[in-house]
Amino acid sequence: MKRAFSILLVLTVLTVCAAACAEEYYHFEIVSKGFQATYWQAVQKGAREEADRLNREAGYEMITMNYTGPDSEADITQQVQQFTSALNANPSAIGFAAVDQNAFRDLLNDAISRKIPIVGFDSGVPGAPEGAVYANASTDNYAAGAVAADGMWQKIEKRIEQADGPVRIGEVNQDATGESVTRRGLGFIDRIIALAGEKDWKVFVTGNEYYVGNANGACAEESEAKIILEVRVPAQPTVELCANEAFVLLNKEDLIAVFGSNQPAAEGIISADDNLCVCGITDATVIAVGFDSGATLKAVIQMGIMYGAVTQSPVDIGRKTIDLLLACARGEPVEDVDTGCAFYTIENIDSEEIAQNLYD
């Protein structure tokens, strides 16, 4: 009897040990671009929801994570410190959206040597050394810029056709260095040039040197152009300074449309328009198109001040980032995930497809 009890006890202990050993524990460090725009808050929400879901499914706290980001997208030094801390925490994997293309090269090489997988999200980690970034969960920003151009074009094509002289389209980009904003900005410019080309109209691109130099197919002389596309970039990526640049554009008599390539740029346009009241959805007004969402953008679209905007799926980006981090940590093969985008106006802002991707 004693012997049988001992065997049973040993078997029980072994079973419990085996069950405990089978449990997986993963710790993820996520370094985002910050929390400034509600867009980033939505990414964080998606990541937390997905981690909670996976933990519920597992029945124990399989995933723990530490989510950080700098105070502003201009705080490169702060993000370098946060990424260094993330590496030192020796996590199962790191999710990363870099604010600068060059500042992290040494740290990323360190991650390779320590075999810590990195998953890029949103703009990801452009220019990373080969082998550092396993996969990205992001919107195809170049295509998203083109979506904004298509949405705007349907509203302004006739006005351009009927205009006596050249017309001006403005673009406010918060910077000329971040991967997501530059790709988006160039996607918009190239698509406008392509759409104009279908009508044999020429486009002259002026303003910020980076965008002028990287635009494809623009004409060399302003005098030849039917459309002047003016790109403005503030000294710092703040709504206040984006508003100053937008104000200059909105003050120009020949401006018929303007695009703000992210939430601060779009809110800057709205803030500038508060003083000018030239934006709207009629042919006599400037057609403003924004990017992302937020309480302000949603309100001005519903009020008919801003024509429309492109929304990404920030919550989905957060979710997919966690899925990719988990796959990397388990050693499973991973590949880039395009989380998509859509153009919305007052017409479809309440539709199920759009509403689920909008946030305050």
């Binding site: 502003s72 503030p234 709504v239 300074l241 100053n244 640049e245 803030s271 000018l276 302000t296």
Partner: protein, 328 residues
């Protein structure tokens, strides 16, 4: 006679007004888009919060001190106001009062540390600057905050600063209503500085604190009050900022105080304390705002605004030295 004119505060303000006119004329001549009425309205709308903190910091500067906590404080109080409304469910007006009260509290703490504990103003306000930056982020979990905007109930408070009239044919006309309040505040604070006991004591603390103390005045009390007034105006600026930009981002605000202090010095307040004027401060802020709005019109960005403002600031301080204020 000539010597007296050059040494007078009025001369420096007149010179500054001429510089503003010249800068405005420069942009006016070079950019047709700058000539619109709306540009002037935009300049007005953009200067409210900087003007309010500049009026506030005029008082500590006249006492010979400074306040570095205004920029991060402004954002911190705005974030707290947003947090009280969104998370705690406070009504707009109560949250607004709490926002202003926070400014008064931090200002009073600054004043107590400086006047009672003899902590150097730079160190004391550097500490509260860091405190404010941290507190705003901690309270909101690092997330940005929002005040009522456009369609939300309570968004009407924005109209106190920026009124938009809609005509029958749907045309919208912006009115920079906030400028009316700013002018009233300027008149009130100018009166307070030059015609009240508080104002006279503030100037005396800056020019000869010991003499004032020996004459039986409770110097510590009035010195603390000067910083409390500065805090009050930072709180008001926090509300004005929320009225201009409904989204409040933690981490922003650092640097606002330097713009404000720069404007006060350009406006003729002596760094060593003992003299200054609220209207001079207004002119200093106006110059910075005209530069900030005007430079993009001629293709130059905000970096140039900093560079040019720095040169004007050095010029103003040099002029102050030449005038030999102390030796006069």
């Amino acid at each position: 006679m000539k010597k007296t004119l050059i040494r007078s505060d009025a001369f420096q303000r007149l010179l500054l007004a001429l510089v503003i006119l010249a800068v405005y004329g420069f942009f006016y001549a070079l950019s047709p888009a700058f000539r619109r009425y709306t540009t002037m309205a935009y300049i007005c709308n953009n200067l409210y919060y900087i003007l309010l903190i500049a009026i506030g910091v005029t008082f500590p500067l006249i006492t010979g001190g400074t306040d570095l906590s205004m920029g991060t404080g402004l954002i911190c109080y705005s974030l707290i106001g947003s947090w009280l409304m969104r998370i705690c469910g406070w009504p707009l007006w109560t949250a607004m009062a709490a926002t202003i009260l926070m400014g008064v509290m931090i200002g009073t703490v600054n004043g107590f540390g400086i006047a009672r504990l003899d902590i150097p103003p730079f160190i004391m306000t550097l500490g509260t600057m860091m405190f404010c930056r941290g507190m705003g982020s901690i309270l909101t979990g690092g997330l940005s905050g929002t005040w009522p905007n456009y369609l939300e109930p309570g968004a009407g408070f924005r109209k106190a600063f920026r009124l938009i009239l809609t005509t029958e044919n749907g045309q919208r006309i912006p009115i920079p209503l906030g400028m009316v309040w700013m002018i009233l505040i300027l008149i009130l604070m100018s009166f307070v500085l030059h015609h009240t006991r508080f104002g006279r004591y503030v100037i005396s603390i800056g020019s000869n604190r010991e003499a004032l103390k020996l004459s039986g005045v409770n110097v510590v009390k009035w010195h603390i009050l000067a910083y409390a007034v500065c805090g009050l105006f930072t709180g008001l600026a926090a509300v004005a900022y929320a009225g201009t930009f409904s989204n409040i981002t933690p981490g922003e605000g650092a640097g606002f105080e330097l713009n404000a202090i720069g404007a006060v010095i350009i406006g003729g307040t002596a760094m060593s304390g003992g003299s200054g004027s609220v209207f001079g401060t207004f002119l200093g802020v106006l110059l910075i705002s005209v530069l900030q709005v005007g430079l993009p019109f001629i293709g130059l960005n905000a970096d140039w605004q900093l560079l040019i403002t720095g040169c004007i600031l050095l010029g103003a301080v040099a002029l102050d030295q030449i005038r030999g204020r102390k030796g006069a």
